[in-house]
């Protein structure tokens, strides 16, 4: 029973407690705050599992962005709490659900405990081919070279989700600005934070993006920080969400996936397959794709949190 295992057991108990509390909390806002804490504890778990890139992504997107999204939704839906809480499901449903969940737990725990030893792994192949990409971080190499098509599809999925969110606007505000009008307190504390933090956030984001080539980091985490800075500025009233029918906004959103696709099709000419990088040009191409993707993903994430258009410009 080493000290690390004691720490791990404590962390595991904390994660389960916070997850249970999130499920059992009475108010949705309290449950969302519990969920944010759960996400941060999961970040620690990811670090214990030696997956620092995933830990960064979990803290940024899984806990931070999702938390902001759910908090604003919980605030907007507060009027429905009383009605919904009156409709608690009956005991039969609870018992059946509990039995189902216990069996799911038993099945998954059995699978985990019966995993083959030693575990099958692709780490040796990844390490062997790492030199051809010119990167030092194996996860970035997998994301942008070995499984680059997954990343391409993922950026397109982000755009499609944004299209889905935008299509939920009522007809009369089609193409308008998302979100409610921020209230500007000229000397408020939030305004102070929103003036102080974005430059720091931009520097940290660019550092994360650059360092992601050889150390944990990368464009997703950097893009999330940029999106968070923009959301902070919007919520402090320093800048307003742009109307969604502006051409520059749509160009920024599409530029990243379009650049990725262009590099992919160039791969046919240069190296014989879709998304193949010609030898020696892998790292510059990867950096170009990441630099093009970062603003697009940041804008997409911020607009996903902002929601569908809700108000139009006064004529």
């Amino acid at each position: 029973m080493t000290l690390e295992l004691v720490f791990d057991i404590g962390l595991a108990a904390l994660v389960l407690t916070v997850a249970t509390w999130t499920l059992l909390a009475r108010e949705t806002t309290a449950a969302v705050i519990g969920f944010v804490a759960y996400g941060l504890l999961l970040t620690l778990v990811w670090v214990r599992l030696a997956a620092v890139d995933v830990a960064l992504t979990e803290a940024a997107i899984g806990s931070g962005m999702t938390g902001v999204l759910l908090l604003t939704a919980a605030a907007r839906l507060r009027a429905t709490e009383a009605v919904a809480n009156a409709e608690q499901p009956g005991a039969t449903l609870r018992v059946v659900a509990a039995l189902l969940c216990v069996s799911v737990f038993a099945g998954l725990a059995g699978i985990v405990l019966l995993l083959p030893e030693p575990g099958p792994t692709l780490a040796p192949q990844a390490a062997a081919n790492l030199g051809s990409t010119g990167l030092g971080n194996a996860v970035t190499a997998v994301l942008l070279s070995f499984r680059a098509i997954d990343t391409l599809l993922e950026t397109v999925v982000l755009l499609l989700a944004l299209l889905g969110v935008w299509s939920l606007a009522p007809d009369r505000v089609w193409g308008g600005r998302p979100g409610p009008q921020g209230n500007v307190q000229r000397d408020g504390v939030l305004v102070f934070l929103a003036q102080l933090l974005p430059p720091v956030g931009i520097v940290v984001a660019i550092h994360l993006f650059w360092v992601g080539a050889d150390a944990p980091g990368g464009k997703f985490q950097a893009a999330t920080i940029l999106a968070a800075m923009w959301i902070l500025a919007q919520q402090a009233g320093l800048t307003d969400a742009p109307p969604v029918d502006r051409r520059w906004l749509r160009l920024v959103l599409v530029a990243g996936p379009a650049a990725f696709l262009a590099v992919g099709f160039l791969g046919f000419a240069a190296a014989g397959a879709f998304l193949a990088y010609p030898a020696g040009y892998a790292k510059p191409l990867i950096l170009f794709i990441e630099a093009a993707l970062m603003p697009s993903i940041a804008a997409t994430l911020a607009l996903l949190v902002a929601g569908p258009p809700a108000r139009t410009e006064p004529p």
Binding site: V189, L190, F192, L193, L196, L197, V200
Partner: protein, 97 residues
């Protein structure tokens, strides 16, 4: 020298943990939101500062040490702002102060 640094790390991190514990006790025991916020900010900022101080000898290079200090400064900034906003919201919600 490393023994002195290790002792510094253990003492500083333990003191930081003690302050975090004190802040949490304040969170659980104080009667209303404002005093709880007060206990949390003071104790947690000092606790985090002590933890960072204890981890400085273990940072990799001056750049790593600067990053740790930047983490502490950012946490203080965020904590101070959020505490102000929460206190203002608590003040307007419980006007019987």
């Amino acid at each position: 020298m490393t023994l002195v640094l290790d002792i510094l790390t253990v003492v500083a991190v333990s003191a930081g943990v003690f302050f975090f514990l004190a802040g949490t006790v304040g969170l659980l025991r104080f009667p209303d939101s404002l005093s709880r916020l007060h206990a949390l900010t003071k104790a947690d900022n000092l606790g985090l500062g002590l933890v960072v101080l204890g981890l400085l000898p273990r940072a990799d290079g001056p750049f790593g040490a600067l990053k740790l200090i930047a983490v502490w400064l950012l946490a203080q900034l965020a904590g101070a702002t959020v505490t102000q906003l929460l206190a203002r919201a608590a003040r307007t919600a419980e006007p019987q102060e």
